[in-house]
């Protein structure tokens, strides 16, 4: 793993307008992602975890400009994707691909597998026409689908196989970064493991970088190098996998980790139960967004927004929490 930054997200904001009134004026915004910054290095797998609605998928879509972000920069190999024109971005998409959650909705039901893959190659013109058929066979074999199945329609495959086809589609243009948006969440646990291992193998084989979006900490633990924990549109903690799982600093991360069911009966874990619901992203709490549910919250949390700061001893760990300050004193 090199330390060359492949993707840099800077102060990314994604606000969705809420239209109201007779004239459809913008009355308010859903602040789905609110000012987040992080870096993904080449060859690395960075995961974003958090509960539903915390903005993890929105972040992925904003990076790929499937929804244009409200503000901020997305630097890919040092080039700002947000400032690219539509045509320039179309070319750039060759390097950034995405794998979706729902294997039943992510493949066009009226195209055969080979048509799906061929179209991808045609759009980005990565493979000359005469070599495409051979390349498709290779790709399918790579993701574990027999080449004889290339002329079948998506509905003739199982969920796991479809997800493999989705992966093959993403690979067909030789991307550098793949955003996996809940890529295994819709699959059975046994199939999940197979697909995760496939993703790991492919990473080694093609030197891929993954931005892995998931709510499943078990999956994240299996695949990630670094983990970003999000809560209500903000990053609360970024850390190396080991640091995060061994010594979570942010109270939210602690609560999240305590929710992983354990198979070890001897190991008694104290489950941290958070009170109340996630506040609305339309009108998020002032100060620290987590202070309304945080068991350790004090006055400062409701007033001042905590910044991400380094707390790692040796490894990489950044936390946005005022408690860190207090402990340091």
């Amino acid at each position: 793993m090199s330390n060359q930054a492949l993707l840099e997200v800077k102060e990314l904001k994604q606000y969705f307008p809420i239209k109201g009134g007779v004239f459809g004026r913008t009355v308010n915004h859903v602040k789905a992602v609110d000012d987040i910054s992080f870096t993904v290095n080449e060859g690395e797998t960075v995961s974003i975890v958090g509960e539903s609605g915390c903005g993890k998928s929105t972040t992925g879509r904003a990076i790929l400009r499937l929804d244009n972000p409200y503000s901020g920069n997305v630097l890919f190999e040092g080039e700002d994707l947000i400032s690219l024109s539509k045509a320039q971005m179309r070319k750039k998409r060759k390097d950034l691909q995405i794998i979706f959650q729902d294997p039943y909705a992510s493949l066009n039901p009226r195209q055969t597998v080979s048509q799906i893959l061929e179209e991808a190659m045609e759009i980005q013109s990565v493979v000359p026409r005469k070599d495409r058929r051979k390349k498709i066979q290779e790709l399918l074999e790579t993701v574990g689908i027999g080449a004889h199945q290339m002329d079948r329609y998506p509905h003739e495959f199982s969920g796991g196989q479809r997800q493999r086809i989705g992966i093959a589609r993403a690979l067909s243009v030789n991307p550098k970064l793949i955003v996996c948006d809940e890529a295994v969440s819709a699959l059975d646990v046994s199939i999940q493991a197979q697909v995760l291992n496939l993703l790991k193998d492919l990473q080694r084989q093609f030197k891929l970088t993954y931005l892995f979006i998931s709510h499943d900490l078990g999956v994240v633990r299996h695949i990630s190098d670094r983990i970003i924990v999000m809560y209500l549109g903000k990053i609360v903690e970024i850390a190396d996998k080991k640091a995060l799982f061994d010594d979570p600093k942010h109270p939210y991360t602690q609560a999240l980790l305590s929710a992983i069911p354990s198979t070890n009966i001897a190991e008694k874990k104290e489950r941290i139960i958070l009170k109340g619901d996630v506040p609305s992203p339309i009108d998020p709490p002032v100060g620290c967004r987590f202070h309304t549910r945080c068991p350790y919250a004090f006055e400062r949390c409701a007033v001042e927004e905590p910044k991400l700061m380094n707390v790692g001893n040796g490894g990489f760990q950044q936390v946005a929490c005022h408690l860190m300050d207090e402990q340091a004193k």
């Binding site: 879509r61 998409r93 060759k94 909705a105 066009n108 759009i123 003739e156 589609r169």
Partner: protein
């Protein structure tokens, strides 16, 4: 969109999954074949189509030849459906008239559907002010009763068969635009559209290769049903003297001419009226059957 029937066919015939397109058609035919009403509709349409095509061969008389001594004759062995006020054979006139009615019905539907599909997709795909503009215009058009709008258009353009086609097609536009817009909104939110966007596809490719094929079923159903109302509207226009001009055999015109003789010679109006009814019922039955066969949710 149609997962259900496909999975169904898989279960029925797992041995030959290679030929999936054929299987999908097979399941579609099976469903349609089970629907007796739809079959009856298809049969009626087919019969009228054949009659229209082979009218010159089948028609026992020339539809335009006057035979004044023989006028207003009731049905007989020579004139199966009788003769009209100028002694012309009604059966022959109906046969020739089916050409005009079917052509007007089908052409105006195709024309209206084409424009409606384009407007609907643009509206649904691009959204925002384009959507608002197109949909408000459609609302305005839909606020007029169909026949009134058609009358207005024909009175501006002048009465002729071509102008009837234009007028009837015009009224089809907002109906198709709305249906297509709705389906586009559903399909464009699916992940495979995002996937192809992430691949770097242009809007035209997304629209024509990925959205359009997946919204064809409602369009086909609506087209079949619309042909029926197009035939009625076209006949109504001719009946009112705003459509096909009298010497040409046309069902609506025949009705209008026979109107004065309803008491003495009711066959002048009964037979053209009956064929209009029959064709319209045929298209409606077939359209309903298509809808059931193409909609995976309606499993009987």
């Amino acid at each position: 969109m149609d997962h259900q029937p496909q999975i169904e066919t898989m279960a029925v015939n797992p041995a030959r999954p290679e030929n999936s397109r054929a299987l999908r058609w097979k399941s579609f035919y099976k469903k349609l074949a089970k629907n007796k009403a739809a079959l009856a509709g298809a049969f009626i349409i087919l019969v009228f189509a054949l009659l229209a095509i082979f009218a010159p061969l089948i028609a026992p008389h020339n539809p335009s030849t006057f035979d004044l001594p023989n006028k207003l004759q009731p049905p007989s062995s020579d004139n199966w459906l009788g003769t009209d006020d100028k002694g012309r054979d009604i059966l022959s006139r109906i046969l020739y008239g089916s050409r005009i009615s079917l052509v007007v019905g089908i052409l105006s539907t195709i024309l209206g559907a084409l424009v409606g599909i384009i407007l609907g997709i643009v509206s649904g795909y691009y959204g925002k002010w384009v959507d608002t503009l197109i949909m408000r215009i459609c609302d305005v058009l839909l606020a007029f009763p169909g026949i009134l709008l058609a009358l207005a258009i024909v009175s501006v353009l002048g009465a002729s068969t071509t102008n009837v086609i234009i007028a009837v097609a015009f009224y089809a536009i907002p109906t198709f635009a709305r249906i297509v817009r709705g389906s586009t909104l559903t399909v464009k939110k699916l992940e495979y559209i995002d996937a192809i966007k992430a691949m770097g596809a242009r809007d035209t490719r997304i629209i024509f290769r990925h959205i359009l094929p997946n919204i064809m079923s409602p369009i086909i159903v609506q087209s079949t049903l619309y042909i029926a109302s197009a035939i009625i509207t076209a006949s109504a226009l001719s009946f009112l003297g705003m459509g096909t001009k009298p010497p040409t055999p046309e069902w609506g015109t025949m009705l209008a001419q026979g109107r004065s003789y309803v008491a003495q010679a009711p066959h002048l109006t009964i037979f053209p009226g009956l064929v209009i009814l029959l064709v319209v019922v045929g298209f409606n039955l077939f359209g309903d059957g298509l809808r059931d066969a193409l909609d995976p949710r309606s499993k009987k």
